[in-house]
Amino acid sequence: MSRASREKDLVDTFVELADTMVGGYDIVELLYRLVSRSADIFGAADAGILLPAADGTLEVVASTSERSQLIGLLQLGADQGPCLDAYRTGESVTVDDIEAIRRRWPRFAQDAGHLGYRWMHAMPLRLRDEIIGSLNLFGDAPGALSAEDATAARGLADIATIGILHERAFRESDVARKQLQHALDSRVIIEQAKGVLAHTHKIDMDQAFHVLRGQARSSRRPLSDIAREIVDDASGRAERPL
């Protein structure tokens, strides 16, 4: 690939990935695009991304082929390999000969040797002190990444990191929103029901709450359900006649 077209591809990829984040955001889409573009641009046979699942165990989340899926899994199985090292140390790891692989990660070399990759370049997905996974490139042809390539690859890894953290923040805040919404709805309807009871029975708010709790206890139903019925009855919204 010529330098000019490589540059263009990189820019196009950055734009494409940024679009994914701004537009209809889909994290899976983002990661799949990332691995396939990475492999293309850097002349790698394959690329894969490792991320921890909710319980902390690492998973191969996106991968360009069965082969690279497998090599990811093999490292997880052997509990060693370049992708794990990148994740654990926060430093990029490059190996470009079989001997080096065998020396550093003997168990992994044993399992993965037959897969035939000649070089591997593993980058941590990292934002300041937080390492959230690794982006990994695997090559068949001789000649691993140049320093320049490694820098460009780092740029793609950074985009992946930001995309993942962004999506995570969104997801967590959505859970928070739902929980708060539910709590708010309960609080509001209960206060309204107190008001209804206070006016209807000429009692104060504490007494009204006492009545409300009594009804909930004796019918063994949640406070907010009783409250809702009381408010609906008072406002003439009840389905059954009073």
């Binding site: 997801r171 928070a176 929103r177 739902k178 708060l180 008001g195 008072a234 919204r237």
Partner: protein, 214 residues
């Protein structure tokens, strides 16, 4: 009745006043999943001006909240401030000439708005605006965390300042046989017509000084 464990975030508002060239700051939550209420204010001026916006349902804070962008009203007594006449009038009475509303958002949650009020027009520089944005971000997280921490409070015993309004709403439902939405509308209309705040009308209803069924 249990009270809130931590004090209201008054320091949040004070922080805006000391870090920026403005005289008053208030922070309000403006709806689901929060109540519509002012959670802190640096002083009575800020509290009062926020109350006007919340009671009337119009103002820079509402616009900032729905658009999720800051609304910078550099001159309250000029520009398109005919959009919110009651706020403009109240601001004039308090010697406030400009106001800046910064939405607080955490991921998918619209937490509310930080409202800054200044005696001078054009009080905030570009750098001030950037700083205010960063501070609003931090305030958003703080308020969301606080709210999450209070999730376990038993329903009916929480100390939201808005609870009087909900209770009064219930009373009006029973008095007039209307839905809570209509009841609140009636309360707001009465507040507007009598020049009182929604909260004052709510308190009058609860104290039996006011009864719409009579």
């Amino acid at each position: 009745m249990p009270t809130r464990e931590s004090p209201p975030p008054r320091t949040l508002c004070a922080g805006f006043v000391s870090a920026l060239p403005i005289g008053h700051a208030a922070i309000s939550t403006l709806g689901d999943p929060f109540d519509v209420e002012t959670v802190c204010a640096s002083d009575a001026v800020a509290a009062g001006l926020d109350e006007v916006q919340l009671d009337t349902g119009v103002g820079p804070c509402w616009r900032a909240y729905s658009s999720r962008s800051p609304v910078l009203v550099r001159d309250l007594h000029h520009e398109d401030s005919s959009d919110w006449p009651m706020l403009t009038a109240a601001a004039a009475a308090e010697g406030v000439a400009s106001t800046y509303a910064f939405p607080m958002v955490v991921g998918a949650v619209g937490v509310g708005v930080v409202d800054l009020y200044a005696e001078h027009r054009d009080a905030l520089s570009v750098r001030d605006v950037a700083r205010a944005l960063a501070m609003a971000d931090a305030a958003a997280r703080h308020i969301l965390r606080e709210a999450m921490d209070h999730l376990d409070v038993e329903p009916g015993t929480g100390s939201s300042s808005r609870r009087f309004v909900h209770q009064a709403t219930g009373m009006v439902c029973a008095q007039l046989r209307v839905t809570p939405e209509d009841a609140l509308l009636i309360i707001r209309a009465h507040a507007f017509a009598t020049g009182r705040s929604v909260r004052e009308v709510a308190e009058a209803l609860i104290a039996r000084e006011l009864d719409f069924s009579e």
